[in-house]
Symmetry: C2
Subunit: 359 residues, 2 copies
Amino acid sequence: MSTYSYQSLYNFALSVFEKMGCPTEEAETATKTLLSADLRGVDSHGVARLSGYVRLWEKGRINATPNIKVTYETPSTAVVDGDAGLGLVVAPYAMKVAMEKAKVAGTGWVAVRNSNHYGIAGYHAMQALKEDMIGMSMTNASPLVAPTFSKERLLGTNPIAVAIPADKEPPYVGDFATTTAANGKLEILQRKGEDAPNGWIQNKEGEPTNNAYGVKEGGALRPLGGDRTNGSHKGYILGSMVDIFSAVLSGANYGPWAPPFVSFMDPAKDPVGEGLGHFFGAMRVDAFRPADEFKAHMDKWIQRFRNSEPVDSSTPVQIPGDQERYFEAERTNNGIPLLTPVVNDLKAVGEKFGVELKG
Amino acid sequence: MSTYSYQSLYNFALSVFEKMGCPTEEAETATKTLLSADLRGVDSHGVARLSGYVRLWEKGRINATPNIKVTYETPSTAVVDGDAGLGLVVAPYAMKVAMEKAKVAGTGWVAVRNSNHYGIAGYHAMQALKEDMIGMSMTNASPLVAPTFSKERLLGTNPIAVAIPADKEPPYVGDFATTTAANGKLEILQRKGEDAPNGWIQNKEGEPTNNAYGVKEGGALRPLGGDRTNGSHKGYILGSMVDIFSAVLSGANYGPWAPPFVSFMDPAKDPVGEGLGHFFGAMRVDAFRPADEFKAHMDKWIQRFRNSEPVDSSTPVQIPGDQERYFEAERTNNGIPLLTPVVNDLKAVGEKFGVELKG
């Protein structure tokens, strides 16, 4: 484990994106989006994925100079074609379109096709906060999840994020994979040599397993709920809704056709759309009631929930986004810890491009 | 158990709503909305609740002749004041407003305050299907659910429904409470004398319990996920998002202030808004891509998922809405079975109003 300052990781990732051929402004956007995950404690989605993006670019699956554009629109909707660009760049473009629509029509809803992995869902939703808008963000992803009663992997971990502004209180930011557990949590268990809890994974026969390598060995993650008794059909609804909004509305690949993030697996030979899909929403709170009034009630909501009586007095009730905000404050001050395999991986990327990772 | 035809229950409920003073057209809307639950197999939300609505009306908490109106709007949004009317009438009004907005602006989003229980979420979302729109519906409800780590009941079972049109295939209709299990399932266990599965309930100390009476004895339902390890913080995000969209955006009561459905519990003495809140959405699919194209891909999506390899060949993979549709076909033909206590309850309501329940 070594710790790097935000600025040193920023300089490194920016240079790598520039060496890939991204125009400077887009390289800056990609870097900021990518590193928001490291700052917020979502280590699986941050700089640890930089080499993954590089490998996809080497395979010709990421276009460093995309012509990202709106291909269709109505007063409150748009479709964006990402031209196979980095999701880290395509998504901020699309979220901006959603917010521009909301300024005029009250709300804005943007479906995106022909994109790639977009980092953490929450970062995009949070862009709306500075305009006193509620932000929403979702994306489909590599198929790793089996619907209830299925042996097959047909859905991604398909996250949903919602960001809601408050007044004196920090904003409400929910950001979650629609599975019982995200894939990154399995990697942590594997490193520790621990078993997976019940309800997280099924083996390749579709039976529940505690084997933390169950997904790697041909099994699947399970939708939120874990099994039918505990509501996995609800997690399946959530994951499939994300898939349909992100990919069927936009014209991207859906379900098992969603292109895998890993470069060693090829996309489906019979695509049903273009690239990966995302879906974004922005709702002006003053399209419903005066913003001051809304935000004062959000403060009251947040205070009531935060101060509710905890089961265990040492574990207070949290508001969605609390944990990530604590990480962000801590890591902005004290730096971002990286595991040795991640550091080695970054150094290999650096050597390829002649960019040095400074401590 | 006795079985009644749809038409006989329709005539009975219509007369009761008329005797309460609802104008005929609104009594018809209320009856259709209420009975959609019985048809679709959601017995807890149908005619079994009729006496509950009557008791709320007797307490002066339901206004049989409300002046339902739009109090604020932008091109893609509106706020509706339900004037303490039946949610069964207020919700269809608001969903219509959402659809009218969508016709012009591409999408429509309507927050509702000062309403009451609105029946099943799915019915309202499904109204959008006939216009080739995606429908969404959510509502807050009586506080029975404890956020992760909390002893207190701060949220309702806060359902979310989404209805998505297809072409030759029947539509996709997801409709689910954001808890591990709906309250109605506990009543079934109580009648059978069975324990509740792990993850459904906590007792009044906040500890997990299998006691099917745990909620009645001061405990709480748990958010989808059941506990932190299995993702209850995600169910908590979903339930609280529904609460905020339905009630903080609209000016209704949120969180623990949401008025209880049962007439023997009074609403909070320090309300933070008016009545219960709902939130509806309608998105024209051709605000994103040609409707024929969208619906053809939905058919492909549905076929791929339905035909995926099942874990157990006797239990095929379902599409959200399949189960409710089978119920609807079966009960339309063969009638709606009612438990004896429900029949007795209806007969008591009938006697009160001089309306006969015919077999």
